[in-house]
Every structure is written in C-alpha cells, then in structure tokens.
Amino acid sequence: MIEARGLSKRFHNKKRGEIRAVDNVSFVCKPGQIYGLLGANGAGKTTTLRMLATILEPTDGTAVICGYDVIEQPEKVRASVGFLSTATALYPRLSAQELVEYFGRLNGLDEPTLKKRVDDIFNRLDMNGFRDRRCDKLSTGMKQKTSIARTLVHDPPVMIFDEPTVGLDVMTARTITAFIRECRDRGKTVIFSTHVMSEVEKLCDTVGVIQSGKLLAEGTVTQLRDKYAEHDLEEIFVKIVTPHYVHVEAR
C-alpha cells in the first residue's frame, strides 16, 4: 500500500530561484493494483517516485508505504520497495549474480536464503546463461533482466518503476511490461511513471495525470474517458494538461 499525503518538493536554483517540482500531491495505490503516473517530461513524475523510494526527502507532506513513513523510517520503506528506472544502472565490474547478491545482502538476507532466492529468480527470468558474466558485457535485455532481479531479490511488497521502458527496443520493453503485470498478479502494490499512452491503457488500474508538479486528474481509464468525453487517451491527456502546460525549459 502506498499513500502519498500532500507530497511536495522544492528545489533552489541559482538562476531560476525556487522550483516547485512536486506540489501537494496525494494519492493512494493499493496492493494488487497498478497505479500509472502519466505526465510529460519535467512534469514531476521522477521526483515523486524518488520521494516514494526515499531517494529524495519531501519538502512538505509525506508518504506512507507498507505502514512506514518515508521521512521517519526511510530504511524500512526502502526494504519494502523495489525501485527500477532507466537511471538505476548496474555496477559494470560485477557479474549479474554478484550484483543481485550484493543487493540481497544489503536487504539483510542471510546467505542460505539469499542463495535460494537468487537461484529462484535466475531460473524464473532465464538468466543462468549469463549469471557469471560482468554487467558491462551484457546486452540491453540482459541488463534489464538483471535490474529486475535486483529489485526482486528481497521480494518487496511494493514496486516503483520510473519510466522503465524508455529507450528500450520492443522486445525488451515487453519483458518489462510483462514483469509489471506479474508483480500485480502476485499481489504487489505497483506504481509506475510513463508518458506512453499505450502502456497506461494496457497496464494501469488507476491513472494519475501530473503536470507542473500537480496531480491534475485521477481515475481509471474508463472514468477519465467518461469525464472528458473522449476515447483517445492522448486527447484526454492534452485536454487535462494544456491549461497548466509550461514547457520544461521555461520552468
């Protein structure tokens, strides 16, 4: 369960002064559901997810994940979360297995549990062919699988995906979307950010539209279609964000 309560994040920039990257965002994401955070570049998606993953601390508001507060208990929150984004790279000089084991140990797994968990994941994701290969020698698809294995090693109840398919080819992107669905089917709470409408339609139980740091609309895809009297999700998105749209460079 994820519960964002008035999450806000302000940054200070010498040239542009104070920037409100995220402004009073609240939403709830339940177990066994996928919550999609839909927004353009610079809308505040990544900052929101980074606050949920406790990589950044909120300036105002808070979020509670699996009963743990992101400000008060960040380590417990992170132990409950698997965080995957295109920015979460792999250690190039570690093998796929060493990398997954490293994160398993950081999550407090004992050695027998870790070994069993790693074997299970490597079998499930069909990774045994490259488990001893260094990460800098892996193909993009292999790297994505290794990243998935890293987020799964401690079997977290909450999964956070920040634009996980950006820059990936169709086949690798399908691996990721299949994995996101599998997480939901296993009863995990899933939140992911994207600006790809088709991904939202295919995956999300609930959609939140974010622009200029504000959550402008929320609901199921059907609810949004009814509310804005449009079938095409892209048109709906444009209708919602246009009054608030400020080009990212102008911000």
């Binding site: 980074r50 417990k76 992170r78 979460t88 190039p92 570690l94 060493e98 260094r134 890293r150």
Partner: protein, 401 residues
C-alpha cells in the same frame, strides 16, 4: 551502527576495485615499479654519464702565461687536458660548451712563483656543468701540485721539515651513527614518498567510488537499497583508506627492496658517493605505518568529500589536482634541512607527519610529539570524515546537476 552493512559495501568495493585496471595501476603497479625504475634506471644512467664525463679529456684555454713557458709546457702535458689556442670570446665558448674551462695566469707568474710571492690563478667555469667541473678540477690539481712542489723545495733549501707544509690539519669528525646521518641526509624522502603515496593511492578510488558512481548512473541504484547513507559512506571510506595504506606500504617495501638490491648488485652506486645506507628496521616500518593511518584517514575523507561533490571523474580530477600541490608543499618540508618537529609544528597536518616520519626513520622517538601529532591528525581526520559522511546525506551533492 550496522557493521555488517559497512563490511558488505567494503567487500563489494574491494572486488570492483581489484577488477579495475586504473585502480590497479595507480594503487599497486606504480608504487611497486616506480622505485626500481627510478633508482636502478636513473642511477645507472647517471652513473654512465658520470663515468663518461670523467674519462673525457677536458678542452681548456690558457690566458696569459707567455712569460711562463715551463708552466705552460707542463700544463699542456697533463693527462686528460687538451689546450686550445687563446681567444677573446672565451666566455661564449664556455657558455656554449665548446671549451670546459679557462685558466688565467697573472703576468710574471713563473718568476713571482720562484720568489715565493702571493699569486692568484683564476679558473673560469660553467657552474653546474659536470664536464666543466671536471676540467676545473684537473687544472686545480695541477696548480696545487705545482705549489706544493715549490714549497717542498723551499723547505728543503731552508732545511725545514716537510711537515710544515701541513702542520695544522683541521678535521671534522662525525659522532652520530651512520643511520642517523643517512636519515638526516636523505631520510626526508621516505616521509615524502609515504605521504605522496598515501595521497596517490587514495585519489583514484575516491573518485571512482563517488563521482564514478554518478557518472555510471549507479548512485540512484545504491540509494534505493535499504542501506543507511552513513554506512554506505563508511564502507566506501574504508576502501579508500585501504587503497591509500596499501599504496604507501608497497612504495616503502619497493623502495627498501630497491636500495637493498642496488647496494648488493651495484655497491658503487650507493656507497661511491660517500652516502651511508639507511637501514630501515622492522619496528620503524611498523611505526611509520601506524603514523600513516591517520594521514591516510585524513586524505581518504577529504578526497571522498571533494570527489562526491563532482559530477564526473573528469570534474573530480580538476578539483583534486590543485590539492596535490597543497599536500606536496608540507610533505617536501621533511626534505628541507633545519626544520625539526616542535610542539607547534606537531599540530599542522601533513607537515607534522612529514617531520615525524623523518624522526622515526632516524630512530628518534619524542613520545610527547608523537602523541600530539597522532591526536591532532586524528582530530582533523575525524572532522574530515564527519563532513564526508554529511555530504553523503545531502541531496544537493548527490544529485547535483
């Protein structure tokens, strides 16, 4: 404080560092090979050049002396001296190394010498040029023998003992052990090397573990794991300290081995110049290592904090390069003569270590100053580590764009 997590991070960083060619080169290969190459290679080269210069005949010129044919005749017959015709542009010829030295005889030299009058022979040289010095030495030797021969004849004529020529000999006698003399003469190089290697060994790992993580995009990956940032900082810090101490230790071992091998296989290189060998005892090595710990801690913490601020290894390099000069200056103080460890200097970081290393190498132990240096450097190291750990908790540093 979870020691387990710190150890997990440390082991992972160690594994990655051992697989990194650049770390292996800067932390292991350079300190191991630098000294044999420098000492044997450059020593051999210098020796070759010296031998060549000592065997080469010196081209010299004589100014004046037309009224002293005997002296001129004998001078032209000196082995390894080749006299060229006099020329008014002799200064240019010396400057351009066409000739090595010029000797100027005063008018009536021979007659005045017979009468026992005071005479001055001037030798013009190119100061600092080895071959010019050899030429001047050969000329000086000739005139010293000429003077002694005159004097010996005079004494014999007056029936005076030959001992009068040198009846008062003034001699300086060293009363300090050769080990201390060696430490005073060139023992300062050891602290210089230890300090420099502590810095060099820590530099690349510090950059790789911080700015390198940002550059490779792994900083967000590790920050999304449950490890506390303090533990992450401490795990990385311990690896940088290890690299620093390993590099410094390898440098000292390599230096000691090179001197031993050099003295065994090329004894003339070490003893020929009259320099005593500096024996490095086991307890001295241990003492130097113990004192090097707070120095390595200080460097590791400072380098980590600065590197973490950088967005890339390239940017970190531009920050750390000027720091190298700030470290070299006090480290060089150990080589300078006359500077000794006092209670005031014992609280100046790096300089205190440099001077203390020099004392330890010579076998001098001023326990109060050792304690003061250890305490002050530990405090500075602790402050630097505190700042480095705090930096790991600042978003503006970790996600600087």
């Amino acid at each position: 404080m979870s020691l387990r997590n710190i150890v997990v991070v440390y082991k992972k960083e160690l594994l990655e560092s051992l697989r990194d060619r650049r770390t292996l080169i800067s932390s292991i290969l350079v300190p191991l090979l630098a000294f044999p190459v420098l000492m044997v290679g450059i020593g051999e080269l210098a020796s070759e050049l010296y031998m060549e210069a000592s065997h080469e005949p010196s081209k010299i010129m004589i100014l004046g002396g037309q009224d002293s044919p005997d002296v001129l005749d004998r001078l032209t017959k000196v082995k390894n001296l080749r006299v060229v015709p006099a020329s008014p542009n002799y200064i240019d010829l010396i400057s351009n190394k066409k000739i090595r030295a010029v000797v100027e005889l005063p008018p009536g030299f021979q007659a005045s010498a017979e009468r026992g009058e005071h005479l001055t022979v001037k030798i013009y040289i190119f100061s600092g040029d080895l071959k010019s010095t050899f030429g001047a030495t050969r000329i000086e030797k000739f005139f010293t023998e000429y003077r002694d021969e005159r004097l010996r004849r005079k004494l014999a004529a007056e029936k005076l003992p030959e001992g009068l020529m040198n009846f008062l000999e003034i001699k300086q006698q060293n009363v300090v052990s050769p080990e201390k003399v060696a430490a005073e003469t060139y023992g300062g190089f050891i602290p210089y090397i230890v300090i420099l290697m502590c810095m060099t060994g820590a530099m690349y790992p510090a950059m790789d573990l911080t700015a390198g993580e940002k550059e490779r995009g792994t900083i967000e990956t590790i920050l999304s794991s449950p490890i506390e940032r303090t533990h992450l900082a401490l795990g990385k810090f311990l690896l940088v300290v290890t690299a620093s101490l390993v590099t410094a230790s390898l440098a000292v071992i390599s230096m000691g081995t090179s001197v031993t091998l050099l003295s065994r296989f090329f004894p003339s290189h070490v003893e020929g110049e009259g320099l005593p060998i500096l024996p490095i005892h086991f307890e001295t090595v241990i003492a130097v290592f113990i004192i090097a710990v707070p120095v390595a801690v200080l460097f590791a913490a400072v380098l980590l904090a600065i590197s973490l601020f950088a967005r890339s290894i390239k940017e970190a390099t531009s920050y750390l390069t000027p720091l190298t000069f700030a470290v070299i200056m006090p480290a060089v103080a150990g080589i300078l003569p006359g500077i000794e460890l006092t209670s005031k200097l014992a609280v100046i970081p790096i300089l205190s270590a440099s001077l203390l290393f020099k004392e330890l190498v010579s076998g001098t132990y001023h326990w109060n100053l050792i304690a003061l240096m250890f305490l002050s450097t530990s405090i500075y190291a602790g402050i630097a580590l505190f700042i480095a750990v705090k930096m790991f908790q600042r978003e503006s540093v970790l996600f600087r764009s």
